[in-house]
């Protein structure tokens, strides 16, 4: 939680003065601050940690901040300021890219809340318990389809079978998108005063749903690849 973190201050390397974590220029000497200590992307943009963002507001903030510290405007500055501008602009651009897409925004929020996947492969390897039944059925169907292809079945025949096999997964996908939206709205509705347990349970539900959704997306991508290699 940012508010309870001891790191709510950053230090200006130019004048040695202190500055809040969410500002970009030193309040004392007005120089651009180096990116040695910073908050998260939400803080950097001056936004609350919410999942539903007003995209035009995010874009407006991005342009405003770009105008403040893009390297173009620090060409004549000291090497330290130029480096600060490069680092701050890179961080801004990386943050914009992450927050602009709903999926990467959610993944990022889970990560900074300490619920990110332990490894990048975690999401795709482990079958979420809630999906065991569908995945089992799909794998059986896939085996059948591969058998048909090996046996020289007509493309229309096995493709139709594959399309039928993916239907339950497609339904699951739509369910999950709706559920994710609901859980996101629930998270956004919690205020800072909400009990920690409530926050934790909202996040855990969000995380489980998110991992399932990623698993489904990968499954569908696999089917698409199968169709393309025909």
């Amino acid at each position: 939680m940012p508010s309870s973190s001891p790191h709510t201050l950053q230090v200006c390397r130019e004048c040695g003065g202190g500055a809040p974590i969410d500002v970009h220029f030193c309040p004392q000497c007005t120089k651009i601050l180096s990116l040695s200590r910073h908050g998260d992307y939400f803080e950097f943009f001056g936004l609350p940690r919410k999942l539903n963002l007003d995209l035009s507001d995010l874009e407006q903030r991005f342009r405003t901040l770009s105008r403040q510290f893009h390297p173009d405007f620090f060409y004549n500055a000291t090497p330290a300021e130029r480096l600060a501008s490069l680092e701050r602009s890179s961080y801004l651009n990386d943050g914009y890219r992450t927050l602009h897409q709903p999926i990467s925004r959610m993944e990022y929020l889970l990560k900074i809340e300490g619920l990110g996947p332990k490894s990048p492969k975690e999401a795709s390897r482990q079958v979420p318990p809630a999906l065991l039944e569908e995945v089992f059925a799909l794998n059986e169907e896939l085996d059948e389809v591969r058998g048909m292809r090996a046996g020289g079945a007509a493309a229309e025949a096995w493709k139709a079978r594959l399309q039928r096999a993916r239907q339950p997964i497609d339904v699951k996908r739509i369910e999950h998108e709706a559920q994710l939206q609901e859980l996101a709205t629930r998270w956004d509705g919690l205020d800072a005063a909400a009990p920690d347990t409530e926050r934790a349970s909202a996040l855990a539900a969000l995380r489980d749903c998110f991992l399932e959704r990623n698993y489904i997306t990968n499954l569908l991508a696999g089917i698409e690849r199968e169709l393309e290699t025909a």
């Binding site: 342009r63 770009s66 390297p71 173009d72 004549n76 490069l86 602009s89 651009n93 990386d94 914009y96």
Partner: protein, 642 residues
């Protein structure tokens, strides 16, 4: 205060522009010509020609003349093997990513140069043009030492780095490498402060780019870019040339091939204005010989060729023929356009304005294809040859003045990644990410006490390492000895505002900065660039000295020739007897002998001293001979008049 400029370093032509009180302007030569052909030629005597004169020499000395060098930037010899047959010059270089980075080398006269060195010669010419302009404007310090140079948006890291190296070799501090379509949008944005979505379609001599931008509050934000760095007017020329050469048959000399190239380019231009034209090839009556003496040779005059030429081939071509021939090339631009739109999450109909850039967009078929795709008539108010240089000048001005009215936010055109197990590329920074951008990856050791890790950096969109572009191999050294899997080395990839990559690494447990030994796969090391910079200065001086020496010899030869002619003339005996002082002839003969003896030395001053001496010694004789010939002429006239 020295000056800054914007440079469009093109495949076919290059331009230089600057910002004046009246806005950005392209700098022209005395005849009003804005274009410097990107052509370099080395005469047999060592003189280096750049621009129009070098372009003319393609018709007389093709094998010592290099063009379209931009196609070779950041490339290995293998990369260009397939198209080498289209070029009259030597293409060499060590194979593979061996020592010297596997960079392709091009024979220019007697030297083997890298593409950045040849591009540097063009840049130097542009620098001189700009300096002459500023000097004529009355600048106290007309030196041009800093520039923004443009590259195709779809250039990869190796090609961008090669362009920056070229600038450094030319003695320019490269303020920024910017993308051509984005530069063009900046030049368009000057006139009206509009808001909306813009597509810039840039089809030049050798490259194609499409960029989709959102313009708002003076921020030019690129949403996506795509393209083909090997698609342009050159490909159209090759299609036409192959036809004409097939008609002609036989094995033409390189100069004849260039004659055909010139003719088809003219026909291509004509067909943008007319419904039909003739491809007319003139056969050069005189072809420069490689066996010409290296020293003392007269500069070969293109006029001689023109006088002696006669039409050898002529063929009618209609616009319909031409369009069906080039349709596949035009079609190849549409895939990247659709991909760029998809990456930006847009439909063609959502684009508010379409801007055309590059000489090849003058072709009516290209304009129709673009109009069809986007469903609107594209803009072409600003000269498509000049708009990129103007935008580069605007960007240069922004950088040095800190003017914040406009800001360009560009993207990296290709995904950046590293090789992982099984020869698969793992992406770290995705294409169309706004730059500057960063990405990081964690590495560890595979065996106990391992102190180094090899990392292979790639650029491209494909799954397999072998299908992507190798950028560099790094040896990550200095890892503290620890059990296998314990070190946590974070490697940080930084793409700067030029779209150029740098890498740093840190072991997180010990917080030790790691050493990185960079070996670019297809580029030059910093040391090589520094050496080339020094060499280019030496050569620039040597070239200049060689030119002066040749001029001195030519003048000496003229005086020797005139003197000998007079001494050998029929009436010399009479002149000597009547008009010369005793011993005058002997003195002339002795000075003449002296000049002939020093003529082949490389000491210019000695040659000039003896030339002056002979001039002095023969001054009286020359006057006498002149008077006699005038008298003879007058008396002749009298005879005729009678």
């Amino acid at each position: 205060m020295s000056r800054v400029v914007g440079i469009d370093l093109g495949t076919t032509n290059s331009l230089v522009a600057c910002v004046t009180d009246a806005g950005p302007v392209v700098i022209r030569d005395k005849s009003g010509d804005a274009l410097v052909p990107s052509v370099v030629s080395a005469a047999a005597d060592g003189t280096m020609y750049v621009g129009r004169e070098a372009e003319r020499r393609l018709l007389t000395d093709a094998q010592r003349t290099v063009y379209s060098v931009k196609r070779f930037m950041g490339k290995s010899r293998e990369d260009v093997q397939a198209e080498a047959r289209h070029f009259p010059f030597r293409i060499t270089g060590a194979p593979g990513a061996s020592a010297g980075g596997g960079v392709v080398r091009i024979g220019l006269g007697d030297r083997e140069l890298t593409p950045p060195e040849i591009s540097a010669l063009v840049l130097r010419e542009l620098k001189h043009r700009a300096e002459a302009y500023f000097a004529a404007e009355g600048d106290i310090d007309p030196e041009v030492d800093r520039a923004v140079i443009t590259v195709p948006a779809y250039f990869n890291d190796a090609q961008r780095t090669a362009t920056r190296d070229a600038g450094r070799i030319a003695g320019l501090e490269v303020l920024r490498i910017i993308n051509e379509p984005t530069a063009a949008s900046l030049a368009y944005g000057l006139d009206k402060r509009h808001t909306g979505l813009i597509a810039v379609y840039d089809l030049g001599g050798g490259t194609f780019d499409i960029s989709i931008l959102r313009v708002e509050d003076g921020v030019f934000q690129v949403l996506s870019t795509n393209g083909d760095t090997h698609l342009g007017g050159d490909d159209i020329d090759v299609l036409l040339m192959d036809r004409v050469l097939a008609d002609l048959g036989g094995t033409p000399a390189p100069e004849q091939v260039q004659g055909v190239r010139k003719a088809v380019i003219q026909a291509k231009w004509d067909l943008s204005e007319r419904e039909e034209t003739d491809v007319t090839v003139v056969a050069p009556a005189v072809v420069a010989q490689d066996s010409r003496p290296a020293v003392g040779a007269q500069a070969f005059s293109p006029a001689v060729v023109a006088q002696g030429s006669r039409p050898a081939y002529t063929k009618r071509i209609t616009r319909a023929d031409f369009e069906s021939l080039i349709q596949p090339i035009v079609d190849r631009t549409l895939g990247p356009c659709r991909q760029a739109l998809a990456d930006a999450g847009l439909e063609p109909s959502q684009i508010d304005e379409v801007v055309l850039v590059g000489g090849s967009t003058r072709i009516p078929l290209v304009r129709r294809a673009v109009a069809n795709l986007f469903g609107r008539t594209p803009h072409s108010e600003v000269n498509p040859d000049e708009v990129v240089a103007l935008g580069a000048a605007v960007q240069a001005d922004i950088l040095v003045t800190g003017n914040r009215d406009m800001l360009l936010l560009d993207v990296t055109p290709l995904s950046l990644g590293i090789e992982t197990m099984g020869g698969v590329m793992s992406k770290i920074i995705l294409r169309n990410s706004t730059i500057p951008a960063t990405g990081s990856e964690m590495f560890t050791s595979g065996v106990d006490n391992q102190t180094a890790v090899d990392i292979h950096v790639l650029q491209g969109e494909r799954e397999l390492v072998s299908d992507n572009r190798s950028l560099a191999r790094f040896k990550l050294g200095g890892i503290p000895p620890m059990p296998a899997g314990t070190p946590r080395v974070q490697v940080q990839f930084q793409i700067d505002a030029n779209g150029i990559l740098s890498v740093t690494a840190r072991e997180l447990r010990t917080d030790l900065e790691q050493t990185i030994d960079v070996k670019p796969s297809y580029g030059l090391t910093d040391q090589e660039v520094e050496r080339m910079l020094l060499e280019s200065f030496e050569h620039a001086e040597a070239d200049f000295a060689a030119r002066l020496l040749i001029e001195a010899r030519n003048e000496a030869e003229n005086v020797i020739h005139a003197t000998e002619k007079t001494l050998r003339s029929e009436d010399f005996a009479e002149i000597e007897a009547r008009e010369l002082q005793p011993g005058e002839r002997t003195r002339i003969e002795s000075v003449l002998g002296g000049l002939k003896m020093v003529l082949n030395s490389t000491d210019r001053e000695t040659i000039q001293k003896w030339t002056q001496a002979l001039n002095d010694a023969t001054q009286h004789l020359a006057e006498v001979a002149m008077n006699r010939s005038v008298k003879a002429a007058l008396s002749g006239k009298n005879v005729n008049a009678l």
